[in-house]
Symmetry: C2
């Protein structure tokens, strides 16, 4: 693949930005890649592991002459970063982000983008429970979706180039309307994360069940919750604070449904439970068919020969 | 390893029993293994794939002369099976089970066990989201815990032999008091499963977010819930109906905690959220250190070289 942007600036050097760097290098998508992180320790780590062609000590240096600027900081920090880089953006450049919510990012970043600079919000649906500059890897985006949320009046050519870039990183690309994005993600990601955090917190709180027992006997469902609940705390704090309405709506729906199932347990309505569990099992099949997981049995066990 | 039981009878031929068979064969733990399943189709499948040395068409034939009888049927079916096999049990034999709840199994099976037969309830903490005779594999129990719940008055020699047998299948073995078992499992397994089922059901119900979107964009937390929610519906119906009190208690605690976090989202209490998520992240570390998972990043992505 050939160079898509002559210079790409990565602002924030965590899991997503570092994976983007290695994925760009794999395919030669950028002439040069600059990077910036607020923390000196993160910048030192980046220099030590060769993350970015140039690690800059200022935001202004990082974004100078960049054709693509990627905001890869927690959602709550995006507005401040946008204000700071605005005077240094090259005319004709594209600014994008990788935030998990889009309405709040558009509201906080949008007003700072100068005329003549293209703002095309984005969200790669990929990640792991690890964070930081050393957690990235080139294949993170392979076979995963990246959602672009163009603004009314976004330059179609800038959107098309960004799409090609994400495809080069390994993603499938879709465009989505901003509020629909935030609702879909509340269902598929934000509510499940809050639920996993809650369940792990409950287990930790119970004095009668010691920590060591919960941990020792975790290979029974709980372990998968702990993986989700190990995700970056700052990032997730910002997600919930910035996708408040959709997340609370889905959690309300969840609670209503949970109460119905609790009631079935209390009253001994086995038929309701079995029907419900049979229906949810079918959804799993759809995910495997969509290529978003394999049907290899998991729960920590790979199936091998008998 | 040498033969521990001359004849083992597997009653029910699903994921657990079939894995036990392949694990016994791997180490030569049984002289011969007989099997029985209520469904003729399951028996045919077992014969076709070589599951069990002998697949019997009656329970009486399967358990005849068996030194160990393993009840591996849904918890709700255990009592009926116990009543049916009771007259055919060999004096001095051990009866065990693999049910996910123990109080209900002890209450329903215990009264049918004849004098001179040892009843030692058990529960291997291992499984996958697949079920049926073809889902088993020899390594399912490796490095996983099996909890034995001896009855007051259980013969120590019978308990010790069963422990050696489970160790031969690859497990670590602990003994646990019955009600404590049911509470620990409500926390680590039963409540998480009901929560996962609920979240997947909610996603399926939402008309504004089509199925295909939920499935397509599942690699963001939701997918891990669907794996849990794909577990065997009949088995799980029986778990909830038979560990009602402990499960409802934990779910009550979970709801209380979820409401507190929802309130923090609604009021914008970022510090509470971040503290909470930081605490839950630490629990993950404990599970990795306990050898019950690896720290390989998941969410469907193995970390490879940069």
């Amino acid at each position: 693949m050939s160079v898509i942007y002559n210079k790409v600036a990565l602002v924030g050097l965590g899991l997503i930005a570092s994976s983007m760097f290695w994925a760009m290098k794999r395919r030669g998508l950028a002439g040069t890649v600059s990077g910036f992180a607020r923390s000196a320790e993160t910048r030192d780590t980046a220099r030590r592991i060769g993350l970015c062609d140039t690690v800059c000590d200022s935001l202004a240096d990082a974004v100078k002459d960049a054709d693509l600027v990627v905001l890869a900081v927690p959602v709550g920090a995006m507005g401040e970063v946008a204000a700071e880089i605005a005077p240094h953006l090259k005319p004709g450049a594209t600014v994008t982000d990788v935030g998990s919510v889009k309405r709040a990012v558009i509201d906080s970043v949008g007003p700072h983008i100068p005329d003549g600079v293209h703002f095309v919000p984005g969200h790669p649906l990929a990640g792991t429970e690890h964070s930081g500059p050393e957690s990235g890897f080139a294949t993170l985006f392979d076979n995963r979706w990246c959602l672009l949320v163009p603004m009314p009046g976004s330059d179609p050519a800038a959107v098309a180039t960004l799409r090609t870039y994400w495809e080069g990183l390994g993603s499938y690309v879709d465009e989505m309307e901003v509020d629909h994005h935030d609702l879909v993600l509340a269902v598929t990601s934000h509510a499940p994360h809050l639920i996993a955090y809650t369940m792990v917190g409950v287990a930790d709180d119970l004095n009668r069940v010691t920590d060591s027992e919960v941990i020792k006997y975790s290979a029974t469902g709980f372990r998968d919750f702990t993986r989700i609940a190990a995700s970056d705390p700052t990032m997730w704090r910002d997600v919930f604070l910035n996708n408040k309405d959709a997340t609370l709506e889905i959690l309300g729906r969840f609670t209503e449904e949970l109460f119905a199932l609790q009631r079935a347990i209390r009253t001994g309505d086995g038929a309701l439970l079995q029907d419900y569990f049979t229906r949810t099992r079918a959804i799993r099949r759809g995910i495997i068919e969509a290529g978003q997981d394999t049907d290899a049995p998991d729960f920590g066990r790979a199936k091998v020969e008998r």
